[in-house]
Each structure stands twice: as structure tokens, then as C-alpha cells.
Amino acid sequence: MAVILRTEGLNKVYRLGSFTRNRKIQALNDINLNIESDQPVIISVVGESGSGKTTLAKTLLRLIEPTSGSATVYDKVVAGKGEKLPKREFLASIQPIFQNPFEAFSRYRPVDAYLHETATRVAGLQGNAAIDAVEQSLASVGLEYADVRGKYSNQFSGGELQRVSIARALIPNPNLIIADEPVSMIDASRRMIIINLFLKLKLEAKRSFLYITHDLATAYYISDFVAVMNKGVIVEFGPAREVMTHPQHDYTKLLLDSIPTTRQRWRPRSSVAI
């Protein structure tokens, strides 16, 4: 079985303040995860703001250097001790999708320029092969190349532009896609389109995802595994359905209990006479 994601003693300490009055924040505290599978998987990392979930994503994306420990993705060490993967090879195996697609694409540049750049510089394709790859990846997220070509980010809705950024991430055929809050900026009515797209890409294109979110309901819907983080520590990890329906840790229970569901009211609401 392939190691899809393994972290060994991953730590990240942020130092704040001046030389005399410094403060440390342990954003990641000894993170040990091990997920092995032959099939692609969707792993969710859930937690509140400040829990360290984005720091974990950024460490795996090499955007920040871990203080100690290492991370392995698809049998290759990608961050920390023993990391030797060249940048292009790294980018071809792990790709990000960020929260706000309007910040990911410049307003002054057509979005297909980003797609071409990924095809030529990361995937190493030239000429027509690059255009084919762009076309194919746009088709796999349900968009036509002709509709995207030459357009700027402000000509798209949030959901469409997020699909363009997913298409961009797919071009180099990465093994793992790290999606940091990919649907929190998208309207509730279209959120499930993106979520279902992740499921489809897992099943058909055999991509694994690390889905970082504070929304436990969508995490339950798509994930195979879930890691619950609080204050830099993974408090609970396991198969998604088991963790979310039979939580063991008090923090997971508190989190699940605090979600405003549309099934059961916290307290009865009287109806008002008309």
C-alpha cells in the first residue's frame, strides 16, 4: 500500500514580538498522521480558527518550513527533514486550491494565462499538448475552454472561478490536492457542486484530497478520514463516519454538539400567531 500522507513529529513554532519580549505560538504540536491506501482518499482536517489546520496545509505545500519533523506524500518526503524533491517535481505531485479564488487570480490577467503557465512550467508541456491539457482539465470540472479563454477573474462568479482554480490544480496530474476552505466563499446553493466535483475527481481521476474546513457537515459528506485539530494538536483521527457519529474526544463532541443543524433544535421555538 502506498503512503498517501504521513507526518512524523511535525512541529511549527511561530515567534512573535521583539528580542526582549518574545512570544511563541505552537501552531503545530507533534503532528503524527499516517494514511496508507491503494485507492485515492479524501482526508478532512477540521477545527476552529487558530487550530493550526492552515499551518498544516502550508507546511505540506512548502509555503512554510516546519520547525521540526517531516511530511511524506505518496512515498516522497515533501517537507522537513530528508526533503530532496526538486521544486518542479514537487509542484507536479501536490497542488493547492485556496479559499478565495478572486485573490488567487490577478484582476489584470486573463485566467487562462495561469492555466497555460501551469501546463508549460509545471507539467512541462509545449504548444498544442499544453492547450490540450488545459482543455481537458477544464472539461473535467464542467467548463468549456472557449468560455474561459481571454476572460478576467471579475467576469466569473465565485463558484465558476473556483472551478477554474480546481482545473488549474489538475493540469500536472497531481497525486494530492490540498484544498484550504475551498467552499466557504461560495453560496450555499452552489457549494455542493464543488463538493460533488471533488468526489467525482477522486473516483474518476483518482486524485486524493486534503480538505481543510470548519464545516463538519461537508467534511462528513465527502471524506474517508477525518482529523480533528484543536490548538495545534490532532485530538482525534479516524474513519470519517466513525469519528463523526461516535466521537471519542470531548472536543470533537463539543464541536459536533455546537453545529446548528436543520434536524433538531437546541430548544423549541414557539410559532407566532398570524
Partner: protein, 326 residues
């Protein structure tokens, strides 16, 4: 009872005029918690601003009126023309971002004193404030702190304390918990519900989270492309909605413990810049017919207390296995 009579709110820009709220009529009973939901740009925040009376250029109330159902000291009825006199006293506002709403260079206590209150004795006011914030679960030292020294949840509690101190008849809350974590969100919502049960004020809540609406509201208004799509009892809206948009929106929500497939609603709302004919949801609606595309449905009462703007209100729609609505 607050009555909105066919209100139209227009924004004037260099590109021309746009109606962000386009003919909404509504009756809100006293002491009712009403949730307003809809996609971004559907006009829900504009409607809140209008009801609050914060109508400044380029925004204007181009037709229609609001009756608030209460009178000022001189006995004149309050309408959108003079609602500003009642700010904080009988109508108050809880904004989304408490950090941007509190004065960063003034202590929290001072911000209570700055209020347009009737009592000139500051010490007596401070005593009252101290007693009041205690009831909201804030320690008395909060009044001596600057906003940045408090956590997000505490700041939002301060905002709620400011908004409810004079026991206003009407409270408008625009995404009051969006910036907060779920655990804190639950505390804040339960606090707001407690206060409402004691004071019996009318609360309007805008939220994009349907779960927040289900937990807190008694009635719901669903807006779509500047129009009211559906209005009625929350329980009915969630269990048996009339409008296909409401139905699709509610059945798209995933839930823990429920493994059924969910579908989003593809497509986008129409641009409000163009000439709009027929039902505004027709392009995304599986029930749409030529009638829908030609003739705008009226917002009428289909069941007692349940209003909707749809020619086929109440028609069942289901999802097939491959994710198509029919």
C-alpha cells in the same frame, strides 16, 4: 406589526440605476424572530439597511413605504422618514464585524456612555451597564478594556449588550455570528434567544447558514434576485417549502449521519442590470415553463401564513440518481 409596502430600493451609479430590492411586501408580527436568507447579491443586506433607516446616497427608497407600528413622543407614526430618531432606543443593529464597529481607541465602558440615553448622570448609567453586562455573561472588567483586548466572542457580546441595553422593539442582526467559531456561535445565539424571550422584541437575522436560521427563527424570508421568493413559518419552510428555490436549497444541505447524495443548484441568478421578464428563478428551475419565462409570478398566500412567488408553488421536485432535478 411592521409592514413593508412594496418597497423598491435603488442604487444610482455611473452605469445607471439598479434595484437591489424590487417590490417586497411583508408583514412581521411583534415579538417574532425572522430569518432572511438568500444568495449574495439578492438584496438581503440592502433590505436590512432600509429597515434600519440607514438610507444614504447612492442608495434610495424609490417607491413603497414601511410602517413600523409604533409612534414617537409627539404621537406621529414612525415611518422610513423619521426612523433615525429611534436609533438605539427602539431599533438597534448588530453588525457582523464587531472589531470594525467598536471604537478601537475608547474603552468599552465609554462606548456605552456615548449612547444617546436620557440619563445625564454618568455614574448611574455605568452602574446600570455593569449590572446589565453581568447578565450577558461578561465580567465587569470588560468595561475597562479596549476592544482589541477582548476575544471575538466577547466583542460580539458587547455589541449585543449595546444593541439591547435600551430594550428596543426591533433588533436587526446582519450575520451576527459569521466571524465566530461554532462553539462561540452557539453561545451567542443562545444568549440572543434568551434576551428575546425576556424582552419579546422583534429580531431580524440575516445569515447564509440555514442551520442558524433553523435554530433561531420563527419565520423565514427567502430572497432571490432582489425579490421575495417565499415567506412563512420556519418549520414549514424547512419541512414543506412552496418555492422550488427553497426546496432545492434546503435539500442541498448535507447533514452528519445522512449519507444521501446532495446536489447544488447550477447556474447563477440573473444580472439585475438587464431588463428582467418572467420569474427570475426560471433559468435554474426544473419546473420552469414558457409561462414562467413570460409572466412574473405574484407573491401570494398559498397556504395560511405561507407566501410564495411561483406559478407552481408546492409542486414536488426530486433528484434522480445521476443528480438531475426533475
Amino acid at each position: 406589526m411592521i409592514r413593508l409596502n412594496n418597497v423598491v430600493v435603488t442604487y444610482r451609479t455611473s452605469r445607471g440605476s439598479i434595484n437591489a430590492v424590487d417590490g417586497v411586501s411583508l408583514e412581521i408580527p411583534d415579538g417574532c424572530v425572522v430569518g432572511i436568507a438568500g444568495e449574495s447579491g439578492c438584496g438581503k443586506s440592502t433590505l436590512m439597511k432600509l429597515i434600519y433607516g440607514d438610507v444614504t446616497s447612492p442608495m434610495s427608497l424609490s417607491s413603497g413605504s414601511i410602517d413600523y407600528g409604533f409612534e414617537n413622543d409627539k404621537g406621529a407614526p414612525i415611518t422610513s422618514a423619521n426612523i433615525r430618531e429611534q436609533w438605539f432606543k427602539r431599533i438597534s443593529y448588530i453588525p457582523q464585524s464587531s472589531m470594525n464597529s467598536l471604537n478601537p481607541v475608547a474603552r468599552v465602558g465609554t462606548q456605552f456612555i456615548d449612547f444617546p440615553g436620557s440619563d445625564p448622570d454618568k455614574k448611574r448609567v455605568m452602574e446600570k451597564v455593569r449590572g446589565y453586562i453581568g447578565k450577558l455573561g461578561l465580567p465587569p472588567e470588560t468595561l475597562d478594556a479596549y476592544p482589541h483586548q477582548l476575544s471575538g466572542g466577547m466583542r460580539q457580546r458587547v455589541m449585543i449588550a449595546l444593541a439591547t441595553f435600551f430594550q428596543p422593539e426591533l433588533i436587526l442582526a446582519d450575520e451576527p455570528t459569521t466571524a465566530l467559531d461554532v462553539v462561540v456561535q452557539k453561545e451567542i445565539l443562545l444568549l440572543l434567544m434568551d434576551l428575546q424571550e425576556q424582552m419579546k422584541n422583534t429580531i431580524l437575522i440575516v445569515s447564509h447558514d440555514m442551520g442558524v436560521h433553523y435554530q433561531t427563527t420563527q419565520r423565514m424570508l427567502i430572497m432571490y434576485a432582489a425579490k421575495a421568493a417565499e415567506y412563512g413559518d420556519s418549520e414549514k419552510i424547512f419541512r414543506d417549502p412552496l418555492h422550488p428555490y427553497t426546496r432545492m436549497l434546503i435539500s442541498s444541505l448535507p447533514a452528519i449521519g445522512d449519507d444521501r447524495a446532495r446536489q447544488g443548484i447550477s447556474g447563477t441568478p440573473p444580472s439585475l442590470w438587464g431588463q428582467l421578464t418572467g420569474c427570475r428563478f426560471a433559468a435554474r428551475c426544473p419546473l420552469a415553463t414558457d409561462k414562467c419565462r413570460a409572466e412574473e409570478p405574484a407573491f401570494i398566500e398559498h397556504r395560511p401564513g405561507q407566501f410564495a412567488a411561483c406559478h407552481y408553488a408546492g409542486t414536488e421536485i426530486t433528484q434522480t440518481g445521476n443528480g438531475q432535478w426533475q
